[in-house]
Symmetry: C2
Subunit: 329 residues, 2 copies
Amino acid sequence: MTSPLRDEAGWIRLLSATWHRKDAEVGLGDDGCVIPPARYTLSTDVLVEGVDFRRDWAPPEALGYKAMAANLSDLAAMGAIPRFFLMTLGFPRGYPEAFVEGVLRGLHALSDRRGVELCGGDLTRAPGGLFVSLTVIGEQRRRPLLRSGGRPGDVLYVSGSLGGPAEALRRFEAGARLEAFDPLAGPADPERALLDRFYRPQDQIPLGLFLADTGAASCCMDVSDGLARDLSRICEASACGAELQAGALPVDPLLSRLGEEERFQKALEGGEEQVLLFAVPPEREQALGGFGVELYRVGRLTEGEERVLVMRDGRREPIGDAGYDHFAP
Amino acid sequence: MTSPLRDEAGWIRLLSATWHRKDAEVGLGDDGCVIPPARYTLSTDVLVEGVDFRRDWAPPEALGYKAMAANLSDLAAMGAIPRFFLMTLGFPRGYPEAFVEGVLRGLHALSDRRGVELCGGDLTRAPGGLFVSLTVIGEQRRRPLLRSGGRPGDVLYVSGSLGGPAEALRRFEAGARLEAFDPLAGPADPERALLDRFYRPQDQIPLGLFLADTGAASCCMDVSDGLARDLSRICEASACGAELQAGALPVDPLLSRLGEEERFQKALEGGEEQVLLFAVPPEREQALGGFGVELYRVGRLTEGEERVLVMRDGRREPIGDAGYDHFAP
């Protein structure tokens, strides 16, 4: 692939031409951006080549889409309205520019749909490969949804299926490839849909805003390091234990060919789900009906610290906090 | 160096124990941070190992200090009060933890002095080496200082000496090493001071706030890619030309051993100065006296697009926009 060797000014021109929104008081092109007065929620998340993805797994549009979606998922978990983002992009000398341009197209497809404006960033060389670091800024009109605040007896929900991204990751590592990615529509074929799911987390923003507006949830977070590990964080922040019903876990139907044990393991320990995990006091559960999209009742918060998985036959198995840790030995 | 192999939770504990401020409504430990309602200015800047620094050039405290200082410099150039920051930190498996801890100490020394709170971030593996990406958030109480707004006739100022960091970089690349770095005080020895200057940009926050408060400056930016290139940005944004007086340029006295041509070249094209470049209409110049710290009158904005350097003997040499470009071919 030959590269026209775009210089820094050339990349900035491309970025300015791609992102048109002008909600920021001062946007791209100054030493900083100025955003209108409001209460803001910020979150940041980076994808690194060779760690979070490999370049040959999927088209670059998929990667850009995922980078934006993963960041928006954190705003969703707080109940914030996405407004702005900053992007730091690094890649080695001689890196294929067409790949970077594809990443930007995928990013833009989703940021445009959600009305999120690029207002700043940084460009650099990075000898180790591409990295895309986003900081997203959401407006927090309601009380933020936090990990703390859950009480024993609150009912635990997840907002989407579990285990798909972990199984997709395993397949990518075994040689599977996603040949095409359309930011507007996922593939119908189940095998490709599973790989596609890795790059296309469901949009949780509407649910986050619904939970913040109704005040239904006592605590909330997005599942990004696996249900078991993220549940342990909710439990720690809320000073509770938890009981999950194995039969109630929405294991991704695309995993149906796997054995039961492996399916539960993927559902509990798989990462990058980007679904919301939240708790609702029983007396507020009926408010959830207004959301109109299926939510999965998977268990409840309990007294104490213990976290257990109740199997279909009644056996109770302790849940550890295994899951994804970038820094695990 | 043996590493105790801190896991992700271990790093987060270290970060939480280091940064104590609690101005954020929701700080570390949730999916996002929530900052109090205000008008905010944001900026982001990343340092990458092998691109912006090498690990053996200086103690890690120097690098952390520089990372924070470079980001604060952008807020200074906008006239914002630093309040919060997010930090994304990536490094390879097996990277010496003591080095990362030193970077955090240097970062904390400066953020603590300026009252800036760590409210979020991300941790990741990065196969190519250490990178430190900060997003800083400042409160914008006054009208922001922009690159646009300069008018022909406005007097150009820089707020500190030029060329030192470029010469320090040359020496590091030729084998020089900075053996020690004290975040509280620079070295007295001139040779070490020159190397130290690379990591210790002057604090421009008081000047940025002064300029925003008094409304004295018509335009402003921080010099980070060299005076020539950054002047071209001011000129483009303000639709002006410029005339610099060679004899007025505050070339770093530590460069006195170099020949005149090389000194001017370093002063014009050297990067990472992190001093402010700003223009002041003549009728507002006397307001600058209130700042009480020396500022350097280096030229003026002119009609047209031409940018020239007027030599001591009256010769007029065109100024290009040579300077630092990460993506130069």
